[in-house]
């Protein structure tokens, strides 16, 4: 038995790991981000879905904002009275819901189309 055993040394990866290069040189490790064709398609699908979502929300905000300004700022509409109610109140109470439904339908159709395109791409590849 040696009285002074050599000290334990922590062994760690060299500078290759720090520079962000995979130490396995192209061999996928479990849990490593997969860079196959599928992953590329999924990223593209995510981007197009996000673009569609932001577009639908932006469209909704613009139309809603315009409707609000029309109701609030054009005094002529306030003078109009329909079945005992001022037109501005009627518009405020009921006119926004069709806008919401319109953009919901628009988005749902677009999202289904994006997914069909993704499926076609994946099944062909």
């Amino acid at each position: 038995m040696n009285q002074h055993p050599a000290r334990r040394v922590r062994v760690s990866a060299g500078p290759a790991a720090a520079s962000g290069q995979a130490p396995t040189r192209g061999i996928a490790l479990p849990g490593a981000p997969a860079q196959d064709a599928d992953a590329v398609y999924v990223r593209a699908l995510m981007r197009s879905q996000l673009r569609l979502a932001l577009g639908a929300v932006a469209g909704f905000v613009v139309v809603t904002g315009m409707l609000t300004l029309i109701i609030a700022l054009i005094p002529a509409i306030d003078e109009v009275v329909v079945v005992g109610l001022p037109l501005t109140w009627i518009l405020h109470a009921f006119a926004f819901y069709p806008v919401i439904i319109f953009f919901a339908l628009l988005y749902a159709r677009g999202a289904a189309r994006n997914e069909r395109a993704f499926r076609a791409l994946r099944d062909r590849g």
Partner: protein
């Protein structure tokens, strides 16, 4: 007021709830059944159930009260609630369905692989849920005061016992059918009286002085730009942060059907809000004397018997009372299902028995709070819950679905910052009533607390040395990849 009629109307709703619950009990046997109805609920049923759960006391009684009290400003609330589902649809409906998680904390834990982030999320879910149940209990109390002459606490206790029992007995499968039924009940309970009242008004010689009943300064033109924008931001984003809204998407069989369900929900809640807004307009014409803070929320209950003295009016009142009860039952039951799901998985073993125990516990807390607080306006108290949800959970859910660099540390920092900022400003606002220039920013904090929570989440995530979990890409791919047809 015919007490016997009103009470039998409420009793019928209760009986129907219990019967559908019992019917559901026979087909729900496994733990999966209890939590998410085994993901086999059809879009129309699911959409009715989501709508039934979403339409709470805040809109059934509170909306017409708000329009009566504050004028056209009240219309922004239902518009925001409906548009909130548009954001749920475009950003989270399909991805969350595909995540395969039961509750929001489940989603956060799976996405960020962190038990700490999960615990913080669970805490936020509990606070939001409890805050939301309190106005429902208050609404039940108010209703029983008006229609049956019972003390305020009686309605609160009665509905709490009923819901805890129903949820513990049936789980979500039973609740799905109960709520689908309650959506249609609520719609007709307002539509039929509204139709009759409008018919009576157009037939009779009712002199409507447009300038006094619909004054321009309470009209659409008299809105405050900051307050309205801030409120709308909170309502739009708050919906996706409500615990009982997200749990519903897990019951859709696929991501595509989750989307279809959401479109149906938007149509259904819009129909209800249009009817409810109509009731508010009618209330301004026929009951301007009720425009006082406490009385306004009862206007939908009082209106029918004012227009139609005698049995017909009493029958209509009983119908409205039944619908109002359906509103409290549905929303509170949905909330308690999701809260009990969270508590039973986080605190207990996640078994059916612990779910039942959690259901009882999760009802007891808001009941105690409700018994010791005085009901404020139902519409605005529900609005506050949306502000809180939008400042805590919504940014995390949104970024979790769309941003790959979100980390557990960033999520926790964002939730805590948003929650604390929101709670502080609301507490200061209630205690002091506004501090000079800062008053509107404390009364409607959403416009700065939501961006603050988002910014903190993003900054902390980007500077987080640990970085996002290595499996992030794979998990995101799962969220966004359509199911094989």
């Amino acid at each position: 007021m015919n007490v016997a009629l009103n009470v039998s109307g409420i009793a019928l709703v209760t009986l129907a709830t219990v019967l559908i619950g019992v019917y559901g009990l026979r087909i729900s046997r496994t733990t999966g059944d209890f939590f998410v109805a085994s993901r086999t609920v059809r879009p129309v049923w699911n959409a009715s159930a989501i709508s039934g759960e979403y339409l709470s006391a805040g809109t059934f009684l509170g909306l017409s009260g708000l329009v009566l009290l504050e004028g056209a400003r009240g219309f922004w609330f239902p518009i925001g609630y409906a548009a909130g589902y548009l954001l749920v649809l475009v950003f989270v409906a399909a991805p969350l369905r595909r995540s395969g998680a039961y509750t929001i904390p489940d989603f956060v834990e799976a996405r960020l692989e962190s038990a700490r982030a999960r615990r913080v999320t669970s805490l936020a879910v509990l606070i939001i849920g409890w805050l939301y149940i309190v106005p429902q209990l208050h609404g039940a109390g108010i209703t029983l005061v008006v229609v049956a002459g019972l003390p305020q606490w009686a309605g609160e206790v009665a509905i709490a016992v009923l819901i805890a029992g129903a949820v513990a007995a049936g789980g979500m499968r039973a609740i799905t059918y109960v709520q689908a039924f309650q959506y249609w009940l609520k719609l007709f309970a307002l539509l039929v009286p509204l139709f009759c009242i409008v018919f009576a008004l157009t037939g009779g010689s009712h002199d409507v002085d447009v300038a006094t009943i619909f004054p321009a300064d309470a009209g659409p033109a008299g809105f405050d730009a900051y307050q309205t924008a801030s409120l709308m931001l909170a309502l739009l984003l708050g919906t996706m942060g409500l615990p009982h809204v997200l749990v519903r998407f897990y019951t859709s069989p696929t991501g595509v059907s989750a989307r279809r369900t959401t479109v149906l929900v938007i149509v259904m809640v819009s129909a209800f809000y249009a009817v409810s807004s109509g009731m508010g307009l009618v209330a301004r014409i026929t009951a301007p004397d009720l425009a006082a803070p406490a009385a306004a929320d009862t206007v939908a209950l009082v209106l029918p018997s004012r227009i139609f003295p005698g049995l017909f009016g009493e029958l209509l009142t009983a119908l409205v009372a039944a619908g109002a009860f359906a509103a409290f039952l549905a929303t509170s039951a949905g909330l308690i299902v999701s809260l009990a799901g969270v508590v039973s998985q986080d605190v207990f073993s996640g078994s059916v028995r612990s779910f039942r125990l959690s259901a009882v516990l999760c009802t007891a807390v808001p009941l105690v709070v409700a018994l010791f607080t005085i009901p404020a306006g139902l519409g605005s108290s529900v609005g506050m819950v949306f502000v809180f949800a939008a400042s805590t959970l919504s940014p995390i859910v949104l970024l979790g679905v769309w941003w790959r660099r979100l980390t557990a540390r960033g999520a926790v920092a964002g939730m805590v910052t948003g929650g604390v900022a929101c709670a502080l400003s609301l507490v200061v606002h209630t205690a002091v009533g506004g501090v000079g220039q800062a008053a509107p920013f404390l009364a409607q904090p959403a416009a700065w607390t939501i961006p603050l929570a988002m910014a903190v989440t993003v900054i902390v995530s980007r500077t987080d040395a640990v970085g996002p979990p290595t499996r992030t890409d794979r998990y995101l791919a799962r969220l966004h990849t359509p199911e094989r047809a």
